[in-house]
């Protein structure tokens, strides 16, 4: 196996772990979403890599093209990217409303507040 070899998979693995650590470790809600984005991109990279053939061209019906990449994983990832964008959008919308309600986007600061429950005085 020549130089690139499994390089893509190693990069994907490192990004996957980095993303997951950011999601779990950061207390800032926006940073959590950033981590989620990195984590998802790592999986996209795996899909894109597995469709690619070395020296493969785009799948076009042409006399000069004999080796071509598998377009299916790439199409799947288009869908998954759309899903990822939608998730980030919903997440950011929630963060915006959390900030309006609490004035902060730090989980620790929100957790420190006592849970207010609408009380009914008997």
């Amino acid at each position: 196996m020549s130089f690139p070899g499994l390089l893509n998979y190693w990069v994907a693995l490192i990004l996957l772990v980095c993303g997951l650590i950011i999601v779990m470790d950061s207390r800032n809600l926006v940073k959590k979403l950033v981590g989620l984005g990195i984590f998802q991109s790592a999986v996209f990279l795996v899909f894109i890599t597995l469709g690619k053939k070395s020296d493969g061209s785009a799948p076009i019906l042409d006399a000069s093209v004999s080796v071509y990449s598998n377009p299916l994983p790439h199409v799947l990832i288009l869908t998954a990217i759309v899903v990822g964008v939608a998730t980030t959008a919903v997440g950011l919308a929630l963060v915006a409303r959390i900030r309006r309600a609490y004035g902060t986007i730090d989980e620790d600061e929100i957790d420190d507040r006592p849970e207010v429950e609408p009380e009914i005085v008997p």
């Binding site: 999601v23 809600l29 939608a86 997440g91 929630l94 963060v95 959390i98 849970e115 207010v116 008997p122």
Partner: protein
């Protein structure tokens, strides 16, 4: 008209998904809340009718396949309906129908300022995604529908009145997105080794070529990913707060549908896609699932016992009940799956009824604190009695539906030779008796804490009707278990011997 019905009959599998998906935007476009509510209930009715249509078709022909756009199976997306699919479709669409009616109630104590039409769009998208996950026979399609329903669910939860609903929705979003991405990665690894995405085709290729490290990795990622969505015990963190802060009608919908569909995907992938030989003989999956289930059903009731909020207490109880279903799946035998399916159906009905009763009480009193509930049973007799009946079923008292499924589960563990598993099952039931008894004691025997509400708020028909239907079903299936047991058993048989 005569030619229209047979023509529609061939397209029922796709109609099950496409009807709510296409109708959903209209709730928003028409811009009227009243219209949106009407559309929602009508759609729920149509979906239940489609499910019944599919059920009658599966009686003549055990497996119905539908090629999307006419592209044949391994290349195109295939929808596949068998007994198991119909069983789950019936469960979720029945719950959805009743939850939609319940949602019409004027008083949803937890729904923020009057729901906008978009709320009903999210509601329909959620149920469309769930139905899609059930009927599709394409692994990538499962992921897409999972995300459709999940994104709609986050939106629905964030509609809760208290600001913590936003944070609960956000935490569910992060957990859910990580889980779904794990499932996506698992599907990618499977495609890498097999070159196909069709579930039946995948199972054939995996059986032929045997497993390797990549497929083992795919299985591991899948179990973790779907475990988050099912709220299996150590991965349940998002569920209690999501259920607690969601609007009451949303909790009613989610408790009966969302986790149930994720459990269905678990069953379908383990037995159809990976194959029982690989998951249970080659990999120690039975041990993994059973051990997590034991921890779940023994530890969670104690958390529920210390809970101060009525809604979150029943949410914890959902986590415990999921453990019974996971234990049934983990046994890997036909009886185990039968027990899991029975418990899935029973829990969907009972927990939906309980959350409706809780919703009625919260709407009247404005509080869900357990210590505020003193004497409530005498003020809200109907809702309290249903809650008691549901609680007894959670314990698994003879004569309730909960007894039927726990009995089958005990039979299944004895049948597999793991009779010692009956001990945690019984202990878990005793522990759930403790938290149900705590509520009963406070509601029936303690003095009232709150002043009675000024006008005696009468029950609206949208409140008592779905509740009565659910209670009636629970009572009927509890006393006359043969019908539902027969259905679950033939669904399990159809899963293990396809075509036979």
């Amino acid at each position: 008209m005569d030619s229209l019905i047979p023509a529609l009959e061939n397209h029922l599998p796709i109609l099950q998904v496409i009807v709510p998906l296409l109708i959903a935007p209209f709730c928003m476009i028409l811009g009227s809340r009243r219209l949106a509510r009407g559309i929602m209930v009508l759609t729920a009715g149509i979906m239940l009718a489609i499910t019944l249509g599919l059920a009658s078709l599966t009686l003549q022909q055990p497996v119905i396949t539908y090629d999307l756009g006419g592209w044949a199976a391994p290349w195109g997306i295939e929808y596949r309906v068998d007994m198991l699919t119909v069983f789950i479709l019936f469960t979720i669409n029945l719950v959805h129908m009743l939850a939609s009616v319940f949602c019409l109630g004027r008083q949803d104590g937890n729904l923020g300022t009057a729901a906008r039409p978009a709320f009903y769009t999210a509601w329909l998208l959620c149920i469309a995604g769930l139905n899609g996950m059930v009927v599709t026979n394409d692994a990538f399609n499962v992921f897409v529908f999972l995300e459709i329903s999940s994104l709609a669910t986050y939106t629905l939860i964030s509609c809760g009145r208290e600001p913590l609903a936003l944070l609960s929705a956000f935490r569910y979003l992060v957990a859910g997105a990580v889980g779904a991405t794990f499932i996506l990665l698992s599907i990618g690894l499977l495609y890498m080794q097999t070159g196909t995405l069709n579930i039946s085709d995948l199972s054939r290729v995996i059986a032929e070529r045997g497993s390797d490290r990549t497929i083992i990795l795919a299985l591991a990622f899948f179990i973790i990913g779907v475990g988050v969505k099912c709220a299996v015990f150590p991965l349940h963190d998002w569920l209690p707060n999501a259920y607690r802060f969601a609007p009451d009608s949303v909790t009613v919908l989610l408790s009966g549908t969302a986790t149930k569909v994720a459990l269905y995907v678990l069953i379908r992938f383990l037995h159809d896609l990976f194959g029982a030989d690989f998951g249970f003989a080659e990999m120690p999956l039975d041990m993994v699932l059973v051990v997590t289930a034991i921890f779940g059903l023994l530890l969670v009731p104690f958390i529920a016992l210390r809970e101060s909020n009525l809604k979150r207490m029943f949410a914890w109880s959902s986590v415990a009940q999921v453990s019974y279903i996971v234990m049934g799946i983990g046994l890997g035998t036909r009886l185990g799956i039968e027990a899991a399916l029975l418990h899935l159906f029973n829990h969907a009905i009972v927990k939906t009824a309980i959350f409706m009763a809780v919703g009625i009480i919260i709407a009247r009193t404005g509080t869900a604190r357990i210590r505020h509930l003193g004497g409530m049973a005498h003020r809200h007799r109907f809702a309290s009695c249903i809650m008691l009946f549901g609680g007894l079923s959670l314990i698994g008292l003879p004569g309730t539906v909960g007894f039927v499924s726990k009995w089958v589960l005990v039979t299944a563990v004895v049948d597999k030779g793991w009779w010692w598993l009956a001990i945690p099952i019984l202990a878990g039931s005793l522990a759930s008796a403790a938290y149900v008894w705590r509520i009963v004691e406070i509601m029936w025997t303690k003095p009232a804490v709150l002043k009675p509400e000024a006008p005696a708020a009468r029950l609206h028909w949208v409140e008592w009707l779905p509740l009565s239907v659910l209670a009636g079903l629970a009572l009927w299936f509890g006393l006359n278990a043969s019908l539902i047991t027969g259905l679950a058993s033939s669904a399990a048989l159809g899963l293990l011997n396809p075509g036979g």
